[in-house]
Assembly symmetry: C2
């Protein structure tokens, strides 16, 4: 007994005359009265089946006519050349003249169409995920994900990395995001936590001498889910001993370029490098999209002292040059103004300067600035006739962020953000700490294990906010694909960091004592990084959303609609765990 001799994707004209057995799903049937075709689908493709009144047995025709969409069948037939060929599919030159059909399983009519563009809504497709996953786009996404995981492992194995599995039942540490916890039945009143990342374990592995570690690993964060966040997500997690930042960047730039080559057949140029301060100055973002220019120009010297109070009172006047946009209409400019004034962006207004194609200059601040004044602005932007300059002003940090959003919007409007063009860079020299106004304390920008730059250590006490870290992010097309750092490997410095972050010695020992202890037994210098695997895969496919790159994602309430989870558990289970639910 065999279900198939071939898949539905492999038969060609050269197979003509062969008797074959195929199994798969009925994609569609076309019944022209005396001629009947069935498209049979499996993971590998679609093969056309053929029946003819008179030639084929009546019983066969009757079975064929009873088949609905998504019925599962096994057929036997002979490969034949098609009359009208379909050049769009690899099997398009042949069809199978049927000699038998066996119904393996029937199907109700699916609640939405199994086509590249389905008519199903999001919730319905999540509930019937097994049907949604049959569609080509999702199948291609998961195939891509598989190929990326294979290529990642092949590269890292070749570089001497060991994949080492770290535990999923670990210990809750309040620093960072919220943990998912797991009550321990054998230790009543105690809990494991699911890892937000294997950070401390990979550092322990460096202390243990494993030299080069990686893992494609699930991580968990119990956060209020924003769009496109998942409570469980996957990281390519890596760590190396006896390395400088340069070693880490080169190794993982190598990984990314390997993936582009293996999976996308793309040769990506060497990554740009940009320090955090420059990225913020030029793009108002620590993850600049370098597929297009429009770097920021600062204009305080030109803008101030022209009796324009908005500029005079601003901490920063800064703009971008949208090349070739001088013909933007009043309506388009108003729309841009509305865009930047949206609460999510938060600017007070938008100033524009049009450098018209005839050489004239027209701006929304003509009242305060002469044409000669504005010529200097145009020169600052290196603008050409036909360009449009867009200028924001206000508090420095906020204004840069607003201009970043406007720059991205202009990139979108001008079609400068082709999802299949890839411009990766490393952003380096992040600040070690960030101040939180609300809790009036410093938080680690990356995490508490990131090392300060040696030349900045003297600032740790006097001006901690100024200390730069040996930390870096891999950014592709404006997306932070991952990040990492050279870690602290000195117990004293690590304790000082915990203290800066407001840990008492007791808290530090209670939560991270094992790491601090490990640092007393010959910890080597080490560093690493983690890449978001869901995100990276989506990016490779040119998609923004990660949801369709995860086989079974959860919705924005953290719920798996297909299996209807989370769900209540039995009282007996609660009792065994020594827990009671309180409302």
């Amino acid at each position: 007994m065999t279900f198939r001799t071939h898949t539905c994707g492999e038969l060609r004209l050269t197979d003509s005359g062969k008797e074959v057995t195929l199994s798969g799903w009925v994609q569609r049937t076309r019944d022209k009265g005396n001629l009947l075709w069935i498209d049979l689908r499996d993971r590998y493709g679609i093969t056309q089946l053929f029946l003819q009144e008179g030639e084929s047995k009546a019983e066969l025709l009757s079975i064929a006519r009873s088949l609905g969409r998504e019925f599962v069948i096994k057929i036997v037939g002979v490969v034949s050349e098609r009359e009208s060929k379909n050049p769009n599919i690899p099997t398009g030159e042949i069809e199978i003249k049927l000699t038998s059909i066996e119904l393996l399983n029937a199907s109700k009519t699916p609640p939405f169409t199994i086509e590249d563009k389905s008519d199903g809504g999001d919730e319905l497709r999540m509930k019937y995920r097994y049907l949604d996953l049959r569609r080509n786009p999702l199948r291609q996404n998961l195939a891509l994900r598989h190929r990326m995981s294979i290529a990642t492992r092949s590269y890292l194995d070749g570089q001497g990395f060991f994949e080492i599995e770290t535990p999923y039942l670990i210990k809750s540490t309040p620093e960072g995001a919220r943990d998912f916890v797991v009550p321990s039945r054998m230790n009543p009143g105690e809990f494991y936590a699911l890892p937000q990342s294997p950070q401390t374990f990979k550092q322990i592995l460096m202390v243990a001498g494993y030299d080069r570690y990686f893992q494609i690993v699930r991580c968990f964060r119990d956060e209020d889910l924003r769009a496109d966040r998942q409570p469980e997500f996957t990281q390519i997690d890596c760590e190396m001993a006896f390395v400088t930042q340069e070693d880490v960047l080169n190794t993982f730039e190598g990984l990314a370029r390997h993936l582009f080559r293996e999976v996308k057949n793309l040769d990506v140029a060497a990554f740009e490098r940009m320090d955090y301060a420059t990225a913020m100055k030029l793009y108002g973002s620590d993850k600049p999209d370098l597929r297009f220019g429009m770097a920021f120009e600062e204009l305080n010297d030109l803008a101030k002292n022209h009796d324009f109070s908005i500029f005079d009172e601003a901490e920063l006047v800064v703009g971008i040059n949208a090349e070739g946009c001088s013909e933007y209409s009043r309506k388009q400019l108003d729309a841009l103004t509305d865009f930047v004034k949206k609460p999510q962006v938060g600017a007070k207004g938008l100033v524009y300067i049009k450098y018209n194609t005839d050489g004239s200059i027209k701006s929304s601040i003509d009242k305060y600035f002469t044409t000669d004044d504005l010529k200097k602005w145009v020169d600052r932007f290196n603008a050409k006739p036909g360009d449009l300059m867009l200028i924001l002003s206000g508090r420095e940090e906020a204004t840069r962020k607003q201009l970043n959003v406007l720059r991205i919007e202009m990139g979108n409007q001008l079609g400068l953000r082709d999802p299949l063009v890839f411009k990766p860079l490393w952003v380096t020299d992040f600040p070690l700490l960030e101040w939180n106004e609300e809790s009036q304390r410093f938080y680690a920008m990356h995490h508490p294990f990131t090392s300060p730059k040696p030349e900045d250590i003297h600032l740790l006490d006097s001006d901690p906010g100024k200390v730069r870290a040996n930390a870096y992010d891999m950014v592709i097309n404006g997306v932070e694909v991952g990040g990492g750092s050279i870690r602290i490997h000195d117990r004293g410095l690590q304790k000082r960091m915990f203290s800066l972050l407001g840990f008492t010695d007791e808290e530090a020992m209670n939560q991270f004592g094992f790491l601090l202890n490990a640092f007393e037994y010959g910890a080597p210098p080490h560093g690493g990084l983690a890449l978001g695997f869901d995100r990276l895969t989506a990016l490779f496919a040119g998609h923004d959303s990660i949801r369709d790159f995860i086989a079974f994602p959860k919705n924005n309430s953290g719920r798996d609609i297909m299996i209807d989870s989370p769900s209540p558990i039995a009282d007996e289970q609660l009792n065994e765990l020594h827990l009671r639910i309180v409302q």
Copy 2:
């Protein structure tokens, strides 16, 4: 700045004269007064460093003399031929004449020796796992595990399998072992469960048309831990659509043979096949160790009606032949008798027949059986002079189990169980159900998704205990490495199974409704298996215990001693989860 130009495992005589930089741990120092050697260790090997009073700078000698075990250093020096070579290590022909030493990190004296045979006890080694992991045996274990995971993926990828990640936050289902549960903060009073295996998800993937799925995946069981069980463990989990049992067996026999070839450089013969009934009859075990013979011989016809009440009252008299053991002393035979009478074995006594080298026969039942009688026994066993037959009797099932334990013990005593000889087999045709006396109901022997053999389906109502399943185990050297089955893909049959297992329709729909629903939309025939990855790796290394093949195992109370987990969590966390601990 660079930490090393080479690793501690790669320099050879051909590198003589090169100036090199190495980093690593001080394994030991030998100070002969005017000559001083340091063994420097990293993951890749050990390299000998050399200093000489007079030749080397005084400062260097002083640093070198201050180094303790496990200090981390970076050195520069010149590769030179050794005077007294060490043929036992690959770098044994050279040493490094030091020109500089930089101390990267000091180390306290480790609480146990970092040697192949450590002097540390289990608990101490678990607490300082990062030191234990530095020892060669553990490093080799984890390196083996890495190579096995790479080879597994390479084989399955080559066979067209996609690795697809299934969720870790799923739904609690009381059937089977106890689940670990995860309270949902966003859905108060509700819980996720951690998967005991991705069983239902991989079946859903088959319904979704993925055709060939695998995953090297963590699984979780909240069981009372027996020796060598872990609350989290790793499976190679696989599923295939449109396959017969034969297809599955061939594919994964292929995987196992690929692993033996790639990882152990061993060509393993085609797997034997044995059905469950035969395995129980011949070896009293569903996981027989085929590295040696000693198959059971049944003796009821010879044993009964000789006025020996023990045999006359027994349901089964059955024995094994221990070849070449006729010289076993009284003391040895008494020890064997004591062995089978231990409560864990539970036999009432042991009968022996010695077929002496001189051709005479001596037994512990001479009173009841003549030499002629016993000659028939000897013939039944095909025994040769010099052999020893060991016979048990009693209730059939219990006696077979006892004789299995005795057979294994004899295999051990006779050195027939070489851990580096591998004898794999498939055990097939398991019973579908097993009766539980305590709860007076049937349980699925494998799991509720296993399909009955079509030819036995008619027994489902009349004699469910007799129904055989399309289920199979991969057994190597008496260890069940994994198992699987052809699944049910018909909604009606699946519902009938749930009903046989005591589920109400409502319970079945509540827990497995998504699968039953999926079966209505064109589920293909499918089947698969899962291999225990921890166990398989340990087996490949010739070890019984999995603990040292897991980087960070838990102890028998489910506790990670190194990180001290599980542990109490903050009241705030409990409040957010709407939980209270009750004693």
